[in-house]
Symmetry: C2
Subunit: 343 residues, 2 copies
DNA sequence: CTGAAAGCGCTAACAG
DNA sequence: CTGTTAGCGCTTTCAG
């Protein structure tokens, strides 16, 4: 691919002594519709190819009010869960001839709103949003006709936007049940970001599992809630271990939180599962190779990402009728060896 | 942030009975230079704010030939190493008011070339490229004046482009030396993608360390070379174990390769470090918590990403003189417990 | 079968 | 202190 210095329609038209219009028509596949002579058509497409012509997307976007680009807003691209989703969005978009503009919101609603405003001003044709999940006012606009959007991972009960997520409630219930059935009675939740839908659903799953088994709900075992990050898992575990010597099991609400918990447990010289059991939400490859291969609630993030692009493009370029709604995928409970049988 | 339906300069100008030019001047901070009356200025900026006006980047880009956007090309965003770099690039770009267009090249030179052509056609102001590293012909254009670019992780000896990477040779040498000093004589390299600069430098480091200790170089211990992926680490380890029962240590040329090796070793019921030792290039948080906390060569990927954006914007918006060149950051050898002392 | 003209929204040169 | 004009590159009437 030699470096051709980006030609324009006009230049091609001039060289061939035809009008820009004609060139435009040919190059956008409208030759037949306008019954352009084979001769002109051939000459034009040949020259275009020779010059490696690509229509200027800025000019095109300005005129068409379509940019062939979509936005992708992610709370933290370095979290492998989101990176996995991002990958699928990137591939799916390219497959359809779209570019993706990436925004990292750093789990900050302000930055998220700013990102969306930016994407809107850039005239993207749609947005895949993994929202921070704490506020949704800035998303109101999307409910109406407006800009196509798909929410991933976190959603809002009062906002009927297409959404792709997993069945967090069942996932957490499976995990908690497993712990209870193995004899655990003092199970602590290492929460993610309090107020976000996955966190609340997981919490509900946990609570329901306890209720099912007629176990008391001890609020002081529900800790954390500031973030899904590694630091949060670490700190909360440290405090928890100090305050509650009776805890026998942890349920981490995210892979980074589990990692933080691991670090804290190592510092305290606690062995898994002999001294304490742990289950993590969101499987990652390495979890199978830990000192104690970790039992986890697997989230199918590749499918989540793929489904998200599909739903988005169903709105962007409706094939027939756009299927709104979205989907709640099942989680997959993977039992490894991080839980000790107590009874 | 209420949904204002995206105004234009013209509309503001009409409402205030002034020219578009005046509005443009005021809104681009040139009021003083053109000595625009406080009254007009105030009225305009007020109305603009009320309408939440943002200049249309497409129109702006078309006119100015600047888009306030940069491209980011990554071989695999789901590899935590690259995700870490991507994060810093995204943050650094936003900080400077730039958007980033993300392309995943899937470790395919063809897709990489395509991505670059796309970015060029989209008139990005610069590119951060983590090249596949096998071919560089499509990068020739960047050597001249052209589009600002920074290479990250992999580079080309015959292409003098600004580059940010680590000292792979020393890193691999440290690791190999460590193995040798612990009595290992049959050390296998699980290569990454053969022909890419990090792979070749690491290989050289390995070879030099052997030479230093007057150990013979056994080519059949150098396996893999198809990819930096998990699958490659798995397959190659499987084959290796079959062919060479005398191997006592592995040097994995990437975090995903190490993960694959781990999977293979687990299947073969080999314990680390009792049965086999392993060191991985590219530290990741979880490596500290494996059954055998893994000794690794740490790459400062956050700094790499930050440095890359810095170098890029030094070219995009030169502060004084753009410092070309780039940087080779040192690696950090972290000794954990995946290597057994044999002597 | 082809083209001229207008306009998407913005800015810069040239004029006052 | 302000405005007119032209044009970035493209598509789309409207008019042959």
């Amino acid at each position: 691919m030699p470096t051709t210095p980006l030609t324009t329609l006009k230049r091609i038209a001039e060289q061939l002594h035809v009008s820009e219009t004609t060139v435009s028509r040919i190059l956008s596949g409208q030759a037949a519709r306008y019954r352009i002579s084979k001769k002109t058509e051939h000459a034009v497409s040949q020259l275009a190819r020779a010059h490696n012509f690509v229509p200027n997307p800025l000019a095109r976007g300005l005129r068409l009010k379509k940019t062939l680009s979509v936005g992708l807003v992610i709370p933290d691209i370095s979290n492998p869960f989101f990176a996995g989703i991002a990958r699928e969005v990137a591939l799916g978009a390219r497959k359809r001839g779209y570019s993706v503009i990436l925004c990292d919101s750093q789990d900050d609603t302000g930055l998220e709103a700013q990102s969306i405003a930016l994407l809107r001003s850039r005239r993207v044709d749609g947005i895949v949003l993994c929202p921070v999940g704490l506020a949704s006012d800035h998303l109101r606009e999307f409910t109406e006709n407006g800009l196509p959007i798909v929410l991933v991972d976190r959603c809002f009960s009062d906002l009927p936007l297409p959404y792709v997520g997993v069945d967090n409630l069942t996932g957490a219930k499976d995990a908690t049940r497993h712990l209870i059935e193995n004899g655990h009675r003092h199970i602590s939740c290492l929460q993610g970001l309090r107020g976000t839908s996955p966190n609340e659903s997981r919490l509900r799953g946990y609570i329901e599992a306890l209720a099912e088994h007629h176990l008391p709900l001890d609020r002081s075992l529900i800790v954390g809630g500031d973030s899904y990050g590694e630091a949060s898992g670490y700190i909360e575990t440290k405090f928890l271990l100090q305050a509650r010597k009776d805890v026998t099991a942890l349920l981490a609400f995210g892979n980074l939180i589990a990692l933080g918990a691991l670090r804290a447990l190592a510092e305290e010289k606690l062995r898994i599962p002999e001294d304490i059991s742990i289950i993590s939400f969101d499987n990652q490859p390495y979890l199978a190779h830990l000192a104690a291969p970790m039992t986890t609630v697997d989230q199918p993030y590749a499918e989540m990402g793929q489904l998200a692009v599909t739903l988005l493009f169903d709105q962007v370029q409706p094939p027939g009728r756009a299927l709104k709604g979205g989907a709640l995928l099942p989680t997959n409970f993977i039992i490894r060896r991080s839980v000790r049988k107590l009874c």
